[in-house]
């Protein structure tokens, strides 16, 4: 028996979700859990499969952890990406921004097993795997911006 695919939310529900989004300021460890939980709720409301919702939650947790460990805090947001009139897809976008020192060597930071923090060295490469699209770039005013999308 195959589970039925959840139908996409109605237009009205999507409009509401687009306005809502998730915005969490990460300044202490409990904020990480809050961000992860809220991102998962958003994914579930967008009709993502359970496994995709857990991927989003875990990726959020990794990104929030990075903000706190490497930049002393930052902003994490999760938003609906509505491309129904373009590519026809619905997505969930994660954005992690900080004003920290920046990443000296982005390629190295994305290398499996490389860690300067407190994880296993699979945080950023892990996020890249868990999500469908990913980019990491310096912010114009200083700091780092990580963007990742999971498509439904």
């Amino acid at each position: 028996m195959k589970p039925e695919r959840t139908p996409p939310p109605s237009d009205a529900a999507l409009a509401e979700l687009a306005a809502a989004g998730v915005r969490v300021l990460i300044s202490s460890e409990p904020d990480i859990m809050a961000a992860s939980r809220q991102a998962r709720l958003l994914a579930e409301r967008l009709g993502f499969s359970r496994s995709a919702a857990y991927h989003v939650a875990t990726a959020t947790s990794e990104l929030a952890n990075n903000l706190l460990t490497h930049a002393g805090g930052g902003r994490l947001s999760a938003n609906l990406l509505d491309e129904r009139f373009g590519s026809g897809r619905l997505g969930l976008e994660l954005l992690a921004e900080d004003e920290g020192p920046g990443i000296a060597d982005p390629a190295l930071a994305l290398t499996e097993g490389y860690s300067t923090g407190r994880g296993l060295g699979c945080g950023l490469p892990g996020v890249k795997r868990l999500m469908d699209d990913f980019s990491l770039e310096p912010r114009p005013g200083g700091g780092t911006r990580v963007w990742a999308v999971k498509w439904r």
């Binding site: 460890e29 857990y54 875990t58 947790s61 990794e62 952890n65 499996e112 296993l120 892990g126 868990l130």
Partner: protein
């Protein structure tokens, strides 16, 4: 948040129910190694049934804890990993958890007892030498 450590003869049981902060994790690890050494525990079961998101930080805390306990000379089994946690951990690119795993606490206890017996440790039988 302090994690209670329960004792069942020479086996210790711990259940991690929330994400741990750095301080919580250090407190938990030092409580546990102290207790393992104090009673010369033969085995430790770490239950993570209640964790539904395990990121690389929590995975490292669990891994490190298991390794610390092993260094002291006790057996470790991790139990109760949720299906979606397993799926996500592997997807992230690693079998993050290096220790042996069981479905639930009762299987974990069976595994521990079997391993302790294999090691030729007969101390588990009752409390007579405590």
């Amino acid at each position: 948040m302090r994690i209670p450590i329960l004792r069942l003869e020479r086996i210790l049981l711990v259940s991690i129910q929330v994400d741990l902060t750095d301080n919580d994790a250090m407190q938990f690890q030092s409580d546990l190694v102290e207790r393992v050494a104090e009673i010369e525990a033969l085995g430790v079961a770490i239950d993570i049934t209640a964790l539904d998101v395990v990121d690389s930080y929590m995975a490292r805390v669990i891994n490190d804890t298991a390794n610390m306990v092993r260094l002291l000379g006790a057996e470790v089994v991790i139990c109760g990993i949720q299906p979606f946690v397993a799926l996500t951990l592997i997807e992230m690119g690693r079998g993050l958890l290096g220790a042996d795993c069981a479905f639930n606490l009762s299987q974990a206890l069976e595994m521990l007892k079997r391993r302790i017996a294999e090691r030729g440790d007969t101390r588990f039988i009752g409390d007579e030498d405590v």
